[in-house]
Symmetry: C2
DNA sequence: TCCAAACGAGAGCACTGCTCTCCCCAAACC
DNA sequence: GGTTTGGGGAGAGCAGTGCTCTCGTTTGGA
């Protein structure tokens, strides 16, 4: 509180070194996460790789859970970047193409970083709850992009989907809140289908990453995924 | 190897006591799993609750991983029983009703036993791989029931679904193997859609159990799930 | 120049999984 | 019934973990 209050960003030497150490911790943490997995992520091991004694890293990271939070945020950012990069190559008016691009990007990133994907979308690490104020922002980047697709298509008037089955009346309130919070205009049945496609997309990716299809039963999983994407495009009435 | 070789089942007093202890271990393990989660599952804690010293439980369970395997098998069995019970109340000819019943049963069980559900369908516990020879049997009960639904509907000639998008030619081999292994006759496009519905169903359940929808954003998640089920019924052309 | 803050090291506590040895007693065999 | 054998419990111990506390040292800023 004393000396260097203010807006930081002034880059004092100490802050500079500190940020470098923080980056090193996250970097080493990511490699450990990728090689040994989330439960085997050990602050002591990170400290060893960093050339520090275990207690020293507690100057930077308050607990193992906070290290997990850092990795969660890092993962969401990377996934969000991957999706945005993929979207950059698709015309905004090509709604089906954008949905497919998002799906492919999510799958590709998940297969490349299965441990981080598991940390974000798998079973919660027991005893650990990601602090909402730090993770919801980066955590909603993908679904934000998905919603953009439906909304764009709806505004362009090119959504062709049956409005049956009709969402239950009890859902109206929830859907209205979603519509308000995301500032969209698409009707209830489209929002509900969008949520389904969102969940289905990650369900497909999770099945593949977590090996639920059975070990080695699929010789061409990418073909199956492409087909599923194509069906999902129809589920929200894009073309 | 010495005395009591043979088919067991003869229930010698020792074997009887042993099985009782095994059941106690699984029972206590389940409560710990439910209260503290998979990563916090500790053989020592189970031993304490059992009134034993930690080394004693190693007479029954070779390792912590084996305890996890016991709980995995136990969970698959319970889920399979839940699904079968739900199906018992639906006419075999009511294909849509059977799919909905399976979906509801899976969701209800997952919400009732989130920790076990996470163990089965969430991110794999790091360093632990479920031994296929012990888990694939019980682990395929649900998908077996799902496949039964499509197959029954197909045989009854009541499947009304577009055969587009056409599964990629490269998928033919994989789909043929699935058809052979499960002894079904449904065509490629129906099998592919069935796989999608399977993954989508568990994607929806996982999103809800793992809180991916955002904490407390849905006031009536069951209504949303019902709607998703209704859409998925259409995805495989049931009515 | 001097002080306070930042920082690293080390010891220590309570916990974990797992191994090994010791030993008792009940079950199994004659 | 007596003998033996092995199942099973207890305890110590090793290596690892998260985390805390204390103790010096370094170093940046006033």
């Amino acid at each position: 509180m004393a000396t260097m209050t203010g807006m930081s960003d002034a880059l004092t030497p100490r802050a500079r070194a500190r940020e470098q150490t923080m980056r090193d911790i996250v970097r080493i943490g990511r490699t450990h996460l990728a090689t040994e997995g989330a439960a085997a992520l050990s602050l002591r091991a990170v400290a060893r790789d960093l050339g520090l004694v275990s207690s020293a890293v507690y100057r930077y990271v308050a607990s193992r859970d906070e290290l997990l939070t850092l990795l969660v945020v890092d993962g969401y950012d990377e996934l969000g970047d991957a999706v945005d990069t993929a979207l950059a190559g698709v015309e905004r008016s090509d709604h089906a193409g954008r949905l497919v691009a998002i799906g492919r990007a999510v799958r590709a990133w998940a297969l490349a970083e299965p441990a981080t994907y598991a940390l974000l979308f798998g079973s919660p690490v027991p005893g650990y709850v990601a602090p909402a104020e730090r993770t919801t922002g980066p955590g909603t980047r993908v679904v934000t992009r998905l919603v953009e697709v439906w909304e764009d298509a709806w505004l362009a008037g090119v959504v062709a989907v049956d409005d049956r089955p009709t969402p239950a009346p009890g859902l109206a309130e929830d859907l209205a809140r979603i519509r308000r919070e995301l500032a969209i205009t698409a009707p209830d049945h489209l929002i509900a289908r969008g949520v389904l496609v969102w969940a289905a997309l990650f369900g497909c990716v999770s099945f593949e990453v977590f090996g639920q299809y059975g070990a080695g039963t699929l010789s061409r999983p990418e073909d199956l995924f492409e087909h599923h994407l194509a069906v999902l495009v129809g589920t929200v009435g894009l073309r």
